[in-house]
Amino acid sequence: MSISIRHVTKKFGQFTALNDISLEVPSGCLLALLGPSGSGKTSLLRIISGLEYADHGAILFQDEDVTKQAARDRGVGFVFQHYALFRHMTVFENVAFGMRVRKMPRSEVQDRVQELLGLVRLEGLGHRYPSELSGGQRQRVALARALAVRPRMLLLDEPFGALDAKVRQELRNWLRRLHEEMHVTTVFVTHDQEEAFEVADQVVVMRQGNIEQVGTPQEVFDRPATPFVMDFLGNVNVFHGRVQAGQAHVGPFTLAFADYQHDEPRHATAYVRPHELEIERTPSTTASLAGRVVQINPHGAVSKVRVLLDGYGAEVTVDLVREKSQQLQLCLNDNVFVTPSTARVFMPDVDYAI
C-alpha cells in the first residue's frame, strides 16, 4: 500500500511543525524519516496514522483519500517510542486487543496471537505482564500487537530510542529481516542517522518542518543536497571562504568550482568528512597542508586525530583506519601533512562537489 502526502501543513500555535510537505512512499518500501527534534518527523508520522490531523493538505493510501478518516478506521499499525503497552493486560491480551475490539472469533484470536508471539520470538511469555519484560521484549510485543490486525502499513515512532545500544542493534537487524519477509509498507522516525542508513530503503531528511532531501541511504550520504544534511549525517570539518572566477578559496584549500565563473567574489563553505582527509609524513600533492598533531584518540577500529593547521589556525579531525595509524606511528606534536581526497562546496543556491 503506497502513501501519498500532498501539501501537508501543520501548526501548533505560532510554531510550524510541517510546512507544505509532499512525499510519496512506494508500496512495500521501508522508509526512514530522519531529523533532529523539532524537525516535524513525528508530527508527519502521526498525521499519516490519523492520531493527528493536518491543517491543510491531503493523505492518500493508494488511491483512497484518508485525510478525514479517523485513526481507528485507517488500518494502520502504530508503534510508540515508549511501547504504550496496556499495563494491566498480559502480553497475550495486549496482542489480542486489536482483534478483540474488532470482535474476531475466539479461536481465530488464539491462533493469530500464538503465530505472532512466535514471529517476535516471545513464545511462552503470553501470560506475563509488560512490567515483567525487558525493554527489547516490550518493543517486540508492541510490534506484534500492531501487526496482529494485519495493518495496511506499519508506522514506528523512534522505535528503538529507549533501548540500550546492543538491544537496539539486534532489533534493527530483526526489523529489517521482518520487513523483507512481510513487505508491508513501513515508515519509521529516528534521529539516529546510523539507524536510518542501516535499516531503511529510503531516507527522508527533515529540518524545521521541511524536507531537505529524499533518497537511498547511499545517495543521501554521498551527495548531500544541503549543508544541513552534510552536517547532520556525521562529523564534518567546515571551512569558510569565497568563490570567484571558477575557483573556490575555502580555508587553506583552493579548489576548482566550475558553477561560478563570475569575477565578483561570493561567500561559500566547504565540508570535508574526517575519513576524506589523508595524513602523510611528506606532502604528496600541492593541496597538502602542513600541520601539527594536537590530539590522538584511538576510537575502536578508527583513530581520531586532531591536527592544527599551520598558517590557518584551525583544527581538523581526521579518521585513520587501524593499518594506516600503525604504519604512521603518530605521536603528539608530530609535524604532518593533511590532504583532502574530496570536498563539498556549498554556496547559496549552488552546490558543487569535486
Partner: protein, 297 residues
C-alpha cells in the same frame, strides 16, 4: 534507604542530624495531639453509647421511627452523591488531562471551590437558588419538584460539598499515565466506549476507588450544608448527623450517642477499607517486583 539506629531503644531516624531530645519531643507531641483530639473522643463516644446498656443502645437505634428514617436517608443520600461525583469526577479529570482548551486552569481552580467555601454558605447558596423566593425555585416548583426542604436538596448539597474528592484523586493519576495507551488503543481500532472500559478504567480503577472511599466518608458525615437546605424536618429530611444534633439538643444523650456511634463505626469501616486496599496494593506491587527480579536479565 539507610536507616540509622538512634540512641533510645526502638527509636530510629531517617535523618540522623536531629538531636535525640527533639525526636522524643516531636514523637510525644504527635501522640499527645492524636490521642487527645482523636482517640479519646472516639473512645468517649463508644463509652457514652454503650454505658446505658446494650439493650438501650439498640432500642435507641431501632425503635425510634425518626432515627430509623435518618439512617435510611443517610444511606441513600450519600451513595447518590458519590455516584454523581464519580461520574462527574471521571468526566472532569478526562476533560482536564486529555484536552487543552482556554479556561482549563480556571476550571481546575473552580474544582477546589467546594473545599474552600464553608458548607453553610454552600447550603445558603442552594436555598437562595432553589428556595420559595429563590431565582429558580418557582420555576422548579412548577415542574412539581421540591428541592429545598426535601431529599433532592440533600443530595445536591452533599454532592457539592464532596465534589473535589474523586476529580482531585484522578487528575494527577491520569496526568502520570499519559495518553499513549489510549492512542495505541485507537490506532488498533477501539471505539470510544471500548477505549474507556478496556483501557482507561482498568488503569485508573484503584485511584478511583480511593476517591470513592474518601468521598463516601465525607458524604456520610456532611452536616453544615445539609443543615441549611434540609429544614430539619424529623422523619423527613433529617440525616444521621442532623439527628445526632437534634437528639443532643433534646437532652436525649443516650440516643444521640447511639446514632453518633453508628456514624463513627461507618467512618471506621471506611477507613479500614482504605487501609486494607492500600495494604493489598503494596503487597501486590512487592510480589510483582520480586517476580521481575527473578527474571533472567
Amino acid at each position: 534507604m539507610q536507616v540509622k539506629q538512634g540512641h533510645g531503644p526502638g527509636i530510629s531516624t531517617l535523618t540522623p542530624q536531629e538531636p535525640f531530645w527533639l525526636r522524643c519531643v516531636l514523637i510525644s507531641l504527635s501522640f499527645l495531639v492524636v490521642g487527645s483530639l482523636i482517640l479519646v473522643p472516639i473512645i468517649y463516644v463508644f463509652y457514652q453509647a454503650i454505658a446505658p446498656g446494650i439493650g438501650t443502645f439498640f432500642h435507641n437505634l431501632l425503635m425510634d421511627r425518626d432515627t430509623r428514617h435518618a439512617v435510611w436517608l443517610t444511606l441513600t443520600v450519600a451513595p447518590l452523591a458519590v455516584l454523581f461525583n464519580t461520574l462527574f469526577g471521571i468526566a472532569a479529570a478526562w476533560t482536564i488531562t486529555k484536552f487543552r482548551f482556554p479556561g482549563r486552569t480556571l476550571l481546575m481552580s473552580l474544582l477546589d471551590m467546594p473545599f474552600a467555601i464553608s458548607p453553610v454558605v454552600a447550603g445558603l447558596m442552594f436555598v437562595l437558588l432553589f428556595g420559595m423566593q429563590g431565582y429558580l425555585g418557582p420555576a422548579v416548583r412548577e415542574w412539581g419538584i421540591r428541592i429545598i426542604f426535601a431529599w433532592p436538596g440533600l443530595v445536591l448539597a452533599t454532592t457539592f460539598v464532596t465534589m473535589p474528592f474523586i476529580a482531585r484523586e484522578l487528575i494527577p493519576l491520569m496526568q502520570t499515565l499519559g495518553s499513549d495507551e489510549e492512542l495505541a488503543a485507537v490506532s488498533l481500532g477501539a471505539n470510544p466506549w471500548q477505549l474507556f472500559w478496556r483501557v482507561t478504567l482498568p488503569n485508573i480503577r484503584w485511584g478511583l476507588l480511593f476517591g470513592i472511599i474518601q468521598c463516601h466518608a465525607r458524604a456520610i458525615g456532611e452536616f453544615g450544608a445539609v443543615y441549611v437546605v434540609s429544614g430539619h424536618i424529623a422523619g423527613e429530611t433529617d440525616t444521621m448527623p442532623l439527628r445526632v444534633e437534634k437528639l443532643f439538643q433534646e437532652y436525649n444523650n443516650p440516643a444521640s450517642f447511639a446514632v453518633a456511634l453508628l456514624l463513627t463505626l461507618i467512618a471506621l469501616a471506611t477507613l479500614i477499607a482504605k487501609l486494607v486496599l492500600e495494604h493489598w496494593l503494596t503487597t501486590q506491587e512487592a510480589a510483582r517486583r520480586a517476580e521481575i527480579e527473578e527474571l533472567p536479565a
